[in-house]
């Protein structure tokens, strides 16, 4: 038996970053909004309070804050020739669940993607010629420019209170900031965090080599801050329990700290937790969504009718829900036709390590999630790819996040995996090792994609998402080149030994890399190759907006959250200023 609930103006699928921003903008415009969150309600007080939050085993190893794989996971294979098998536990990436979504457990690294990323195909063709992009690479322009997004980046960053230093203020380059960034209209809301020891060593080495180091933009705040919504954040204490944890100190920007309290107080908003959406419903024309069907916390099926549907779940779940709802044509890798599930991309990471003498105390536990010093000299198209034979790049940085010892006990290559020699090496190197991140982008290819698994199901009897992915040859070449540059910096950092190798295939889901899955519901200007238009409105169902990193046609090297927040405000602005005045397609197909 399905209960039907009275129609509301808008329903949100997921109350994380996207749901919170859209909920706020739509209620502010006078709409009645219901937010459906599959996880539980939670807040800084009492849920995230110490000391229990500082439990590495519970949160970082056993993944307390993540989507429960016993109920819902996805299947994985390298190619269409393989049989996909379920990821029985998370490892490579960690989708969160619960009120606030993955922005509760994120590190807070807050980079803007560059114009070179938004117009990647056009810019590469302009600079290197049409034949330069490998044949199987399906990178596309996003349909939106850095200049169009700038006001929305600005608004999102001032909501979060990001701590950083501008490198380009209205076209004026500023040494010490990221001189490769596109013009920003004003300085960051708060100054950079303090620079830890390893990062300071990295900065000097990078400067000596002629690069342009800058403080990583951080949502672990450098000083107290009150945002335009009237909510206050505090100074980050560098406690070393950030990524995979919730912040007990009100020092990490998250929906709970920057916006949710305002939304939850709005009488036009109703939050329902424990509600898992099974599908988006459409009318007989299949061009109008009528609402959603979900299972509530008691296990009852409910139909919530709504005039506007906002799909803002985790990227992978956005793709799955469109496929389960049969909205948009599924992508077929054999023909290259169809759109939903196409252009799945990831990121391409490597981690050289610098091993120091015992006199050098790195103190890895005195870190925050997004502290550190980075360079963008080898990011995006900031360097000449002409002679190199690949596209894309990586930012490089000394951005260690913690010294929690179950996960962090570095030893030099060749050390036995256990026994007395292993133990001695752990004791010798624990406090005397610096890790460099080579944080690389990921091109979309014809063969990497997402669809529904034919065999495995979730706890509600619905097919799991199936991921078909292996590292593209282009990205392996990119990683080889940029990792070599990172090792050169490492060698200038004064250690005794630098160890590390570039990312190589095959992709291994048992090793954590990043939770930066992208694509599958990509945005664009051509309905035959994209799922949503440049305002993130479904080409097929005009009262459905799909918002997430699933919109990215390929993945840049930077952490995706800042760009997602800007896109959420960009889409909300289009809904409020254009769509609500004249409901229907904002762009004719």
């Amino acid at each position: 038996m399905t209960t039907t609930r009275r129609e509301v103006d808008a329903v949100l699928i997921g109350v994380g970053l996207v749901g919170t921003v859209l909920g706020r903008e739509l209620t502010r415009a006078g709409l009645t909004v219901v937010g459906l969150e599959r996880g539980r309600p939670r807040d800084t007080v009492p849920d995230f309070q110490g000391p229990k939050m500082h439990d590495e085993l519970r949160y970082a190893t056993r993944l307390e804050l993540m989507q429960d794989t016993a109920q819902e996971t996805l299947t994985f294979r390298h190619t269409v020739r393989d049989t996909a098998l379920p990821m029985r536990r998370w490892a490579s990436f960690l989708p969160g669940t619960g009120l606030g979504g993955s922005l509760v457990h994120w590190n807070g690294q807050t980079f803007r993607y560059q114009e070179d990323d938004f117009r990647q195909r056009s810019r590469l063709v302009e600079r290197y010629g049409r034949g330069f992009i490998p044949a199987d690479v399906t990178i596309r322009d996003w349909g939106v420019s850095a200049a169009e997004l700038e006001p929305h980046f600005d608004r999102f960053e001032y909501l979060l209170g990001v701590s950083g230093k501008a490198g380009n203020l209205n076209g004026r380059k500023i040494p010490g900031g990221n001189v490769f960034e596109d013009p920003r209209s004003r300085e960051y809301p708060t100054p950079p965090q303090k620079e830890p020891y390893g990062s300071a060593i990295f900065r000097k080495a990078a400067e000596d080599l002629g690069y342009h180091p800058y403080p990583q933009p951080s949502c672990n705040l450098s000083q107290p801050y009150t945002n335009p919504e009237g909510l206050s954040l505090r100074t980050c204490t560098f406690c070393g329990y950030c990524e995979r944890f919730a912040c007990e100190h009100f020092a990490k920007s998250s929906p709970q700290t920057v916006l949710l309290p305002v939304l939850l107080n709005d009488r036009n908003f109703e939050l329902r937790t424990g509600c898992r959406v099974l599908r988006i419903n459409v009318d007989q024309s299949r061009t109008v969504a009528t609402g959603v069907t979900y299972v509530d916390a008691q296990g009852q099926e409910v139909e919530q009718r709504a005039r506007l549907v906002i799909l803002g779940a985790y990227a992978l779940n956005n793709v799955r829900l469109l496929l389960l709802s049969q909205i948009g044509r599924p992508y077929d890798p054999t023909t290259g036709r169809g759109v939903v599930g196409s252009n799945y991309a990831y990121q391409t990471m490597s981690y050289p390590q610098v091993f120091y003498d015992e006199s050098v105390n790195i103190n890895p536990f005195m870190r925050s999630g997004a502290n550190g010093t980075v360079i963008s000299d080898f990011a995006s198209d900031n360097f000449d790819h002409g002679p190199l034979g690949f596209i894309g790049g990586a930012y490089i940085g000394e951005i260690m996040t913690n010294g929690r010892p179950i996960g962090f006990h570095p030893v030099p290559p060749g050390t036995p995996a256990w026994g007395a020699a292993w133990k001695k090496a752990v004791v010798r190197h624990y406090n005397h090792t610096s890790t460099i991140n080579v944080h690389g982008g990921s091109v979309a290819t014809r063969q990497n994609y997402l669809d529904l698994d034919p065999t495995y199901k979730d706890a509600w009897g619905q097919p799991l998402l199936r991921m078909t992915f292996d590292f593209p040859e282009n990205d392996i070449k990119m990683s080889a080149y940029v990792t070599r540059k990172a090792i050169e910096i490492g060698e200038a950092m004064g250690g005794r030994l630098v160890a590390g190798s570039p990312r190589k295939g095959p992709y291994d889901i048992t090793e954590y890399q990043t939770t930066h899955n992208s694509g599958g519901t990509i945005m664009g200007t051509d309905p035959s190759t994209s799922v949503v238009n440049r305002y993130l409105q479904s080409w097929d169902v005009s009262n459905l907006f799909v918002i997430g990193a699933s919109n990215y046609p390929q993945n840049a090297c930077y952490n995706p959250t800042d760009t997602l927040g800007a896109l959420a405000y960009w889409s909300a602005d289009a809904i409020v200023t254009k769509y609500l005045k004249s409901p229907g397609p904002l762009i004719r197909r």
């Binding site: 110490g50 794989t69 016993a70 390298h78 029985r88 909510l231 505090r234 010892p405 007395a420």
Partner: protein
Amino acid sequence: MEKMSRRSFFKGAGAVAAAVAVAPGCERPAPPRPPYSFFNADEASFVEAAVARLIPADETGPGALEAAVPTYLDRQLGGAWGGGERLYRSGPWQPGKPEQGYQLRFTPAELFRAAMRAIIEDLRATNRGSFAKLPAEDQDAYLRTLERESKDLGGVPSNIFFGSLLEMTIEGFFSDPVHGGNKDMVGWKLIGFPGAYANYYELVDQHGIAFKPPPMSLAQSAGDHAHPEPAPKRN
């Protein structure tokens, strides 16, 4: 225990008795066995001896046995984790590539039970007695065989069992003592990790300082961590 560590312990030591007293767990008598709720006596004997080889007591300090790692394993395997918490357990079950991750039907508790039973039987059948009574070198050689081969241990490939045992031993050595291992925070003291300690704001830019407070566990830090600033007002 093993010849090498005994030599290094006793080398240059003036008083043998004093050396024994400060050599935790390195010589018999072994500490009295704690009450286990998951392991039976044979399993406990194997686990205690095995973890003592994975992270041995030596001149750097106590090892996994002294850190009560078997107690950690006992609690984990006997609890929700052992029962397959957060493990997707729907079939069909089929072997895959290593990059596709764990694909066995066993929960962690079932996996340990099956593998330990097979190991105990294997040693008996080959007249080697119990693992705990083997010389250290033979224990290491046996563990290396488990690690490198995929011998069938009651349906569990030995390398998968070994990987789980090693991973959980490291967890037990370095996790907060509230979980039963890392007794007296010996794992943290060994490497200089301060534990649940919360605030480095004043220290992070004192580059390279030697920071060696006694570590702090969750159980010790009663109540909340000290907040450097009052919580922001929320309506």
